[in-house]
Symmetry: C2
Subunit: 384 residues, 2 copies
Amino acid sequence: MNKVRLGIIGVGNIGTGHVQNILSGQCPEIVLSAAADRRESRRSWIRENLPDIPVFSEGEDLIASGQCEAVIICVPHYQHPPLAISALRHGLHTMVEKPAGVYTLQVREMNAEADRHPDLVFGMMFNQRTNCVYRKLKEMIDRGELGTLKRVSWLITDWYRTQNYYDSGAWRATWAGEGGGDLLNQCPHQLDLLQWLCGLPVRVRAFCHEGKWHDIEVEDDVTAYLEFENGATGVFITTTGDAPGTNRLEVTGTRGKVVCENGVLSFSRLAVDERDWCVSCPEGFRKPDCETVVVPTDGKNPQHVGVLNAFAGSILRGEPLTADGREGIRGLMLSNAMHLSSWLEKPVDLPFDEQLFKDLLMERCRHSRRKEDADITFDTKGSY
Amino acid sequence: MNKVRLGIIGVGNIGTGHVQNILSGQCPEIVLSAAADRRESRRSWIRENLPDIPVFSEGEDLIASGQCEAVIICVPHYQHPPLAISALRHGLHTMVEKPAGVYTLQVREMNAEADRHPDLVFGMMFNQRTNCVYRKLKEMIDRGELGTLKRVSWLITDWYRTQNYYDSGAWRATWAGEGGGDLLNQCPHQLDLLQWLCGLPVRVRAFCHEGKWHDIEVEDDVTAYLEFENGATGVFITTTGDAPGTNRLEVTGTRGKVVCENGVLSFSRLAVDERDWCVSCPEGFRKPDCETVVVPTDGKNPQHVGVLNAFAGSILRGEPLTADGREGIRGLMLSNAMHLSSWLEKPVDLPFDEQLFKDLLMERCRHSRRKEDADITFDTKGSY
């Protein structure tokens, strides 16, 4: 079988997970052909677990080595766009871990580079798009089963993290190292799914609380209010400080409501469109007839493995990606707009002033906290 | 048996419900001794159903008639405080339908009058406080079972109303007639319960959409963000435009989370306080141990009948009310603050400028829409 020779750049929490998935045979069309990490401890781990492949300190050296036809980039967020740009320029197919970057201007450069290489596969690791529940919901919305969007609320407060998590890496939860907190590290999945399912809002008012539950300088508690072009509204509520937390997505359209919680998709389907009913019903309180069903899905949820296998299939046979790399900017626009709104203490219209966002972010980076690196790698199983 | 001779002022949707409850024998310590309504159609209804009692056009005449020792006031909201003040001055025990009034300044006058009559019973019709689920939750919070409040979210979007509902009365859904929409008419229950359970927030930022789903001039869609004194945050989301809608209250404290939906109270209880765990757990992603249980309640939910019977018990034997009339101002403060925040397009701190709110409301009243009165009385069963 023809296999994709993949180099991995960054073997921290999530990179280690990818290596283990590939080594355990879950990605039969991928062979690891090189790895890079700036930490000696992680390079030792690679040498122990992958004795036959070249190991680099710098991702740039891996990219230039000629050992790979594709790379996956799993380093701190700021480095995603520059490494992806370099990989694309070296003719490598490129998979980027979420988020696409820290600020949209750098991601626009990455996307522009990708556009210059239509022959190369450029993917984004939006593993939650492989979840049968979200795939099914996307399909229902696209088919018009919910009618026109009226309201969305996502209570995604089950990203629990301890103080020790934040102390585990010097880059973590700092403006200079990570460029944000909950919105940049935990929520890129949901921000992407939100825009994938409902489209991007046109206006955001967010309330980000920095270091509220942990000794960190970035946000660990966010409530955002959204307005969409058609007048629909939404809230997005997230924290790494709640236990046990909640992950409940509710989408209401003119023809019904879907609730997605605990892996179950529940659909309350109206017999008629509520907008028609509202003006024609002769009674005052009566709702349209409604039946609630649990929506069957295909049950498949291959997560990171699914994204990597689609990446290989795209390289080898031109099959569709889970998520094109260029789509990474959309969730980041939401994230940046939430930060900007909170910093400015007012609503922010999309598209927003991306230079202003970068300037305000860089100002924060200049005063960013210096942290000791505890050099800890966590097992991320079940944490995403 | 000694019975309270009760006069009812206003026999519209909700007043008719009270009359029917009393006539059906559910309030054995209350006898209807007079009724008033400005509409001939409702006075005819009273004469048919209560042939032996005096019927008045004006509430003031009922109050002055000497036919009652207590009144219940079920007229449009603006008239609640002036009628209650008059009733108290005439030495009558007074029960007021929610909301306490339209703006807090008029309610402060009512409360001041009540304070001048400590011998009279003054109650507020907060029938949802009789719901076993909310009573149990209140008990749990007061006992500290949830620890310290961190987050509350109430998605209360199941107040569905058709256009015909709004067309049913000239006063409905106008600034001059009702003084607000969803927040004034449907949500006083939840706004009261919210402050009863969690206390009043210190800051509110609300987004009220007027006439969004119906041809009305007041709000029928609201998203409000709340901040409490201890740093806890919340959202309150309501509309009369969603079907089937949702009524889901989630309260998270440092020792666990309660979800109240579909009449079920579900408690996720942590083995230790999350705040202690966060700083002591050596792992990164691990949450404190947690068990989720359905909380048993006494199953009693006597609603309006319960409030009226407690009112009679208080008059006859000094027993506790469901809600003291003076507490009505608290939910109204929340409601007024939400309107004010939305009108000013900025966060509003509590206590807010009550004169400013009144001025802005009166400005709206001056331009308020004139509507035809369809003179329709709906059966409210199951609508509250």
